[in-house]
């Protein structure tokens, strides 16, 4: 409650212009074509040279002194709407914007004259235009949201096939990925080659890397906020695509025109179906596929009430035989209710559920097998309010309550018919937070956003493990255990997380921005491998694991040229991280009731420079980004040099420390029929640990690293060019045929570079004779060592 009253106080200070009569103009901004809310559409009042931005539901509200105003409603790629209003009473003005693509018979897609990047207080954020994503050359021809955001500054990956993404030198587990507000714990299909988001059902993607507003919390590095389409409420649409790996189909349409709509989108891979036609190698009981289903519906109850119901269900199955294989999947469900109190207080109540589960089986028969299932369930309630006080202040406040239930292992072993249950106890935790923040325009030049979030985490009930101290970097000895009641608090943590940013407008086309945020993270992704793996374990903070914390400052300069045809920005950031997890050598992270004894804790830091330039209009559009970054950790017991006794850690680069990161994406529209696109990536080779010595023990040749160094070398640089050509209206565009379609021919890794994923040291996999000395060597591995062409056919009718 403290934070709310503090936020309220802050805003009271701003409410000092009483005396004159004030009225509010408010409403929803939508797309004429399909009735979808236009998230982030700007509402610009010419008379005050200022305005507001539509929220994630397309709602806007602005309160002004009585008078006559000219208001411009704008949205990227849409035609501006100019409205002259006589503001002598509160006005409800819902309106629809029309896509410029349809209006103007020309090939400009990517932009309008919008200077939002300069005017908005937001920094360190990136929004992706779904249309732009659709035109990018993609791996196997499949448009992918996670792959696309990796083309933005500050975002990277450790390599092909790796799940997830890294933001500003943070780990994969430090990103909070939200699908219609519900957390998605695993974002990958088929290891890391595709992500779980079906682009046909996604409306908006926004990534927060810094300057994170008070309403978001729970992870250190970033928030990826993915919003689903609501579904066309004007007419029925069927979209889909046939690709080399999988096919997609989405159906959307009105339930009641302009009032209610739905969308259902599905994808399934068919590698297994094809394989069965050509070979009988797949054994009975085997399966190799993934699928996902995304669905959403909404009802416009009346002017002040709207409800939304959305869900996702996806699964990957890799069964080699009936008794051997693994599978994983997410499911989420979100119910939301938008309610307007008057015309200035917008509220949204969300209730959502998320489940991530996976299973692994090994064995040969019912009598000899090993079955492991694990899941994490999240129940969530989140009330949020936006109070549009006046043209200068917008107060947001709310809270969140989350119940986590972790089932790290429901596992049995069967050996020669003897069954042993090796399950681990369920773990529970309750996380609550309260926040308040205000967006305030102090002068025509200076805007500030400030807020406070208070988060609290309670680790609940069950067996408590108490460990003693030992040599740094070694497994801690168990001292004793105790059992707490089911819902009794074992350990609680509370953290204040202040957030602040400012924007100072230098000229009409240039501004500087700065931000500070503190983040707390109570869930930890336990992963000790190069890439994150679908069966990695999520672990709550406990009496043995402290919550992770991070402070970040960022400063940026934003400048647009030639009437906003070109957008540029430069940002620097610095992050200090605490309670970062590491692992003892040989840690057993799967099904281990003593896992916490094998975790180490350290500090981290990351800093860098991000440059970004984007061309918004013309035949040639696209962007280029450059990131200069550094990401390091310091953990006692790791990288400690020759001091065997004290083992105090020294700084070492993290696995995702990439010094230079250059990304270029370009789109060229030759004519209405044919367009080209290309993207290029250059990434400094990632760090890796190389040995100095070899020791021979028990007949095996084992690598040894002088000074126990970590990540002391780098693998060679990564670079890759992809190209694609899109042929529009192959079949549908012809006379008498409605709808649209296109054929995308793309080539991934055009010059077939064998980009290294890793270099590993071994005595090889061939049998070496016992009587001569063992030969050791180094091997450079490329996950994709060739160019990969693909063809995808997309349609809409």
């Amino acid at each position: 409650m403290k934070s709310i009253s503090l936020g309220a106080l802050c805003s009271l200070a701003a409410l000092c212009s009483f005396g004159q009569e004030k009225y509010t103009v408010s409403g929803y901004i939508k797309d004429t074509g399909n009735g979808e809310a236009l998230i982030g559409a700007t509402v610009f009042v010419k008379e005050i040279s200022n305005g507001t931005i539509a929220n994630v539901y397309g709602f806007y509200s602005i309160t002004l002194v009585k008078g006559t105003y000219n208001i411009v409603y704008r949205y990227v790629g849409f035609k501006d709407v100019n409205q002259k209003i006589e503001l002598d009473k509160d006005i409800r003005l819902d309106l629809e914007l029309t896509s410029a693509e349809k209006q103007l018979d020309e090939v400009v897609i990517m932009g309008d004259a919008i200077d939002k990047n300069v005017l908005s207080i937001e920094m360190s954020t990136a929004e992706l235009d779904i249309k732009a994503i659709g035109k990018l050359p993609a791996f196997a021809g499949e448009v992918d949201i996670i792959k696309s955001i990796q083309l933005l500054p500050g975002v990277s990956t450790v390599g092909e096939g790796a799940s997830g993404f890294n933001v500003r030198g943070g780990s994969v587990g430090q990103n909070l990925v939200l699908l219609d507000e519900a957390p998605v714990y695993q974002t990958s299909h088929m290891l890391g080659f595709f992500s779980v988001f079906n682009p046909d059902a996604v409306k908006d993607v926004k990534l927060f890397k810094g300057g994170i507003p008070a309403q978001y919390g729970g992870r250190l590095s970033s928030i990826l906020d993915v919003r689903m389409k609501e579904g066309n409420n004007k007419e029925f649409d069927v979209t889909g695509g046939l690709g080399t790996i999988f096919s997609r189909l989405a159906v959307e349409g009105p339930i009641k025109k302009d009032k209610s709509s739905f969308i259902i989108a599905a994808r399934r891979s068919y590698g297994d179906v094809l394989a069965k036609l050509f070979t009988d190698a797949l054994k009975p009981g085997s399966a190799l596929y993934f699928y996902d289903l995304t669905a959403k519906t909404n009802f416009d109850i009346n002017k002040n009430n709207k409800i939304y119901l959305s869900g996702y269900f996806g699964r990957d199955v890799f069964k080699f035989t009936k008794y051997q294989g693994l599978d994983w999947g997410n499911s989420t469900a979100t119910f939301r209710w938008n309610h307007l109190y008057g015309n200035r207080l917008f509220s949204n109540y969300s209730v959502f559920y998320s489940n991530y589960d996976y299973g692994l089986s090994l064995g040969t028969s019912e009598l000899d097998k090993y079955d492991w299932k694990s899941k994490i369930k999240t129940y969530n309630f989140k009330p949020e309010y936006s109070y549009f006080i006046n043209a200068k202040n917008e107060l947001t406040f709310g809270g969140q309550a989350i119940l986590y239930r972790f089932e790290p292992a429901n596992a049995v072993t069967v050996s020669n018919g003897t069954i042993t249950d090796i399950s681990l106890d369920e773990r529970k935790a309750f996380e609550t937070s309260l926040y308040a923040g205000n967006d305030q325009r102090l002068t025509d030049q200076l805007s500030v956003q400030y807020g406070l979030r208070y988060s609290n985490f309670n680790y609940l009930g069950g067996i408590v493990y108490h460990y003693g101290d030992t040599l740094k970097g070694m497994e801690k000895p168990l001292e004793y255990t105790e059992e707490k009641k089911e819902w009794e608090s074992i350990q609680s943590f509370g953290n204040f997380e202040p957030r602040a940013s400012f924007r100072y407008q230098l000229t009409k086309t240039a501004s500087i921005k700065g931000s500070y945020n503190r983040m707390s993270q109570y869930l930890h992704l336990i992963s000790n491998t190069t890439a994150s793996i679908p069966i990695d374990v999520w672990q709550p903070s406990t009496n043995n694991i402290k919550p992770q914390q991070s402070d970040q400052v960022a400063l940026g300069y934003f400048k647009n040229f030639k009437e906003n045809r070109y957008e540029t920005s430069a940002e620097v950031y610095y992050k200090w991280n605490r309670n970062q997890l590491e692992y003892i050598d040989g840690a057993e992270i799967f099904i281990n009731k003593f896992l916490e004894s094998q975790l180490l804790s350290g500090i981290g830091r990351a800093y860098g420079l991000e440059l970004y330039a984007k061309k918004n209009s013309g035949r040639l559009t696209g962007w280029a980004s450059y990131t200069l970054g550094k990401s390091e950790m310091k953990v006692d017991g790791i990288n400690y040099g020759v001091d065997q006794k004290n083992r105090e850690g020294t700084w070492y680069p993290t696995r995702f420390d990439q010094r230079h990161n250059i990304k270029v994406a370009a789109f060229y529209d030759l004519n209405k029929k044919i367009s080209f696109s290309a993207n290029f990536s250059f990434i400094t080779g990632t760090p890796s640990t190389f040995p100095t010595d070899r020791i021979t023990v028990a007949g095996y040749v084992i690598p040894y690293i002088r000074g126990s160094e970590r990540n002391n070398f780098r693998i060679p640089n990564y670079h890759r060019l992809d190209v694609a050509v899109t042929f529009n209206n192959i079949w549908r565009g012809k006379k008498g045929r409605t709808g649209e379609d296109n054929l995308v021919v793309s080539i991934y890794n055009v010059y077939a570079r064998k980009n290294p994923f890793s270099i590993y040291f071994s005595q090889g996999t061939t049998r070496q004779p016992g009587d001569i000395p063992t030969v050791t060597s180094a091997t450079q591995l490329s996950i994709i060592g060739t160019m990969i062409p693909s063809v995808t056919y997309n349609f809409k009718f």
Binding site: Q324, S415, T530, F690, K754, T765
Partner: protein
């Protein structure tokens, strides 16, 4: 456990490529290495005292000379002096094997003015009850009928036993890193206790079947066992710390490449139970000391056994 996970991940389709390279490495530290795995077999027991070599130095490590190597039975007080030989320090059993189950032992190595110690308990070991062969029809990577070898052994009741299981096919030790096979009680690790029963199936058959490529073929393998082949199994008792050592070593050396590299752990130094007796010493030492009881059994796959296995095939 984790080992088995990685084995199953390897099965993903892989269209990458691998190249042998020779990167310039930092200078080697050339530290002292003590390789002391003593067992109760009636054969020469050897302790190797050597120095580490540069990683790409593919020669036999040379023995450090003039060291004093002794193992003391701390339970009975018997002292075993290890003689200096040409490649190692050794002790030959005469009438009885080394040590007794349940006793504690101390290894002492004196070299170049410094003394190093390590401790080990001689743990119990279950008998190998039987060896079986199971019939499998031809398939995509093994293009003829073949047999899988498996052993049966039962971990004694009581947690805290650990074993290193070694296998030989036709007298050739299955010594590839990926064939390193350990058990903690009857299961995979201390954190998931499976006690007092038959070893779990991946331990019984996962590492006893050699997978060797047919020369010149990319994805074709020699049948693990055919009629006429033999499988011989030894179970060595090891200390829990030795289990941890081998467990860590497995991930450092069993690098099968391909997709499994996505999930490789960072290279780290393996643990050691050797320590300098001088508490202020900063001398780095590597290696491990363990004393083991051993049980064994072998079986030749005869035509009769093969016929019976074929009849019982599912």
């Amino acid at each position: 456990m984790k080992k088995s996970i990685y084995l199953s991940l390897m099965a993903f389709v892989f269209f990458g490529c691998e190249t042998n390279i020779t990167p310039d490495l930092d200078t080697a530290e050339k530290i002292l290495v003590v390789d002391a795995w003593i067992n109760q077999k009636m054969e020469r027991q050897e302790i190797r005292v050597t120095r580490s070599q540069s990683y790409f130095d593919n020669s036999v490590p040379t023995k450090i000379t003039n060291a004093t190597v002794t193992v003391e039975d701390l339970t009975s007080g018997v002292l075993y002096n290890f003689q200096e030989g040409s490649t190692s320090y050794y002790w030959d059993p005469v009438a009885a094997p080394f040590g007794e189950v349940g006793h504690n032992y101390r290894l002492t190595v004196r070299s170049q003015g410094e003394t190093f110690e390590a401790f080990s308990n001689l743990g119990r070991v279950p008998a190998v009850d039987s060896i079986l062969f199971k019939f499998k029809p031809a398939e995509i990577i093994i293009k003829e009928e073949y047999y899988l070898g498996e052993f049966m052994a039962k971990d004694p009741v009581g947690v805290g036993d650990a074993y290193w299981i070694k296998a030989w096919k036709n007298g050739v030790f299955l010594g590839k890193p990926a064939e390193l096979n350990m058990a903690y009680d009857a299961g995979f690790s201390a954190g998931q206790p499976v006690d007092g029963q038959e070893f779990l199936i991946p331990i019984r058959n996962g590492f006893t079947n050699p997978m060797d490529k047919i020369e010149g073929k990319q994805n074709e393998f020699i049948p693990p066992y055919s009629v006429g082949d033999s499988l011989y199994i030894e179970i060595h008792s090891i200390n829990p710390l030795a289990f941890d050592f081998l467990y860590g070593v497995y991930f450092q050396i069993a690098r099968s490449g391909g997709f499994s590299e996505l999930f490789a752990m960072p290279l780290t130094n393996s643990s050691t139970n050797l320590k300098s007796t001088n508490k202020n010493s900063i001398t780095n030492v590597a290696g491990f000391f363990n004393v083991a009881a051993v049980s064994s059994r072998g079986l030749k796959l005869t035509q009769e056994i093969a016929n019976e296995a074929k009849l019982n095939a599912d």
